[in-house]
Symmetry: C2
Subunit: 244 residues, 2 copies
């Protein structure tokens, strides 16, 4: 038996998210369908986590077990021939028997992209969130640094989050300006459901002057007096990488 | 009467190009249709030029004449409400009576984006040309500089080009690396049909080692012994700006 690790890029615009759902086509379903076409028999893949409907990935990781003795090129280029244009395997590797895409993960890095413009952008519309108001980057940076470290992120998850514990470590929050775009790169040990989008939504409210940067510390202390975090829309989010 | 100058961004993926065509929906048609909805009567727009099917624009410029006394916000935000998501007016301005989007243009800048990767990219597929072979940037830079200046670009236009003269000035050809992407920014006084795509196709052949950099000078001298220029595909091209 061989364990295969796949690194997958996808444009999430037209999918209901990574995980198989009853209400539409998921990325996982397309990957498993391509595997079935390649191998002639059904295969289940195990991912590093889920992404929501409309969220993108440059480096989603999943693994699968197989009895088939195929070269890595078949797992990458062969699979890509059966995948739709919005999904591609970027890398295929042989993994150790005890490698698990989810349980072996040491950290993940997400990028959230804001479009700072008062006009909508046809070319950026699939991969950014348009924010019309000007953003105070100094206040946002101040608030962003409050997230770094080990905290209870209970105020930064949505209902339906199945995680048993809400303590997570955020390694870094970086803001990168690129013309009218502002990228917010967030890395951490692991993330709760909607956690990145709620962190970004809160940072944008700070940047707009709608709440003080001190709100982040209060939310991390579960202060119920504070307005709950705003969830940024899905299309601005991209899972950049998972490391092991 | 007022002359209005519009700067337009579009994702050209699903259009037959800027100009109205019998075989499908064009960007111009969508802009004129939105104007008709805004104004209640048909209006013709005059653009700085055409873009081919699948080519994008960040700063296409066109103008129109109107008897209607509307504020600039109506020409921008009002029009955007009637335009499809793949097209947006970025800026509306009042122009002088003798301003003409095409004849007053002093220069244009295009960006062509290459994806240097042996795997296709779902997230870049609409806006880049995937080149699997590694590219020699030194050779490409050498060839690129040969384009700069006033030359006869007759070897860099396709059939159907209606231009009467083929002499054009290229102001600059710049190569900008951005991870797996390579942008080639080309500015000039004006461009023949497919000229940018044929310049880029030729540069890529040089980068791949498929032809020597000296071929550019020979093509600019209309040397018929030389293999004709290769046309790079449309989706990698974007009209960045037109200046006046």
């Amino acid at each position: 038996m061989a364990r295969i690790k796949l690194t997958i890029e996808y444009d999430g615009t037209d999918y209901v998210g990574w995980q198989v759902q009853p209400n539409g086509v998921s990325v996982q379903q397309q990957v498993e369908s391509a595997l079935q076409q390649l191998l002639g028999s059904p295969v289940r893949v195990h991912s590093s986590g889920r992404t929501d409907a409309g969220v993108h990935a440059l480096g989603m990781v999943c693994h699968l077990d197989t009895q088939r003795d195929l070269p890595l090129s078949a797992w990458r280029d062969g699979l890509n021939r059966f995948l739709p244009i919005a999904i591609a395997v970027r890398q295929a590797e042989f993994a150790a028997d005890d490698f698990h895409a989810r349980y072996s993960a040491k950290g993940k890095r997400y990028r959230y992209t804001l479009l700072r413009d008062d006009v909508r952008s046809p070319l950026q519309r699939r991969t950014s969130w348009q924010v019309r108001q000007s953003l105070d980057l100094q206040l946002m940076t101040l608030a962003a640094q409050t997230f770094v470290g080990v905290h209870d992120f209970a105020a930064f998850r949505t209902s339906g989050c199945a995680a048993e514990t809400t303590q997570r470590e955020v390694f870094a929050v970086e803001m990168i300006e690129e013309g009218r775009l502002l990228h917010i790169d967030i890395s951490g040990s692991g993330f709760l459901k909607n956690m990145v989008r709620m962190m970004v939504g809160t940072l944008v409210e700070v940047g707009r002057g709608k709440r003080p940067p001190e709100d982040v510390a209060k939310l991390l202390k579960n202060d119920r007096q504070i307005k709950p975090a705003l969830t940024a829309p899905a299309q601005g989010l991209c899972l950049l990488e998972v490391w092991y």
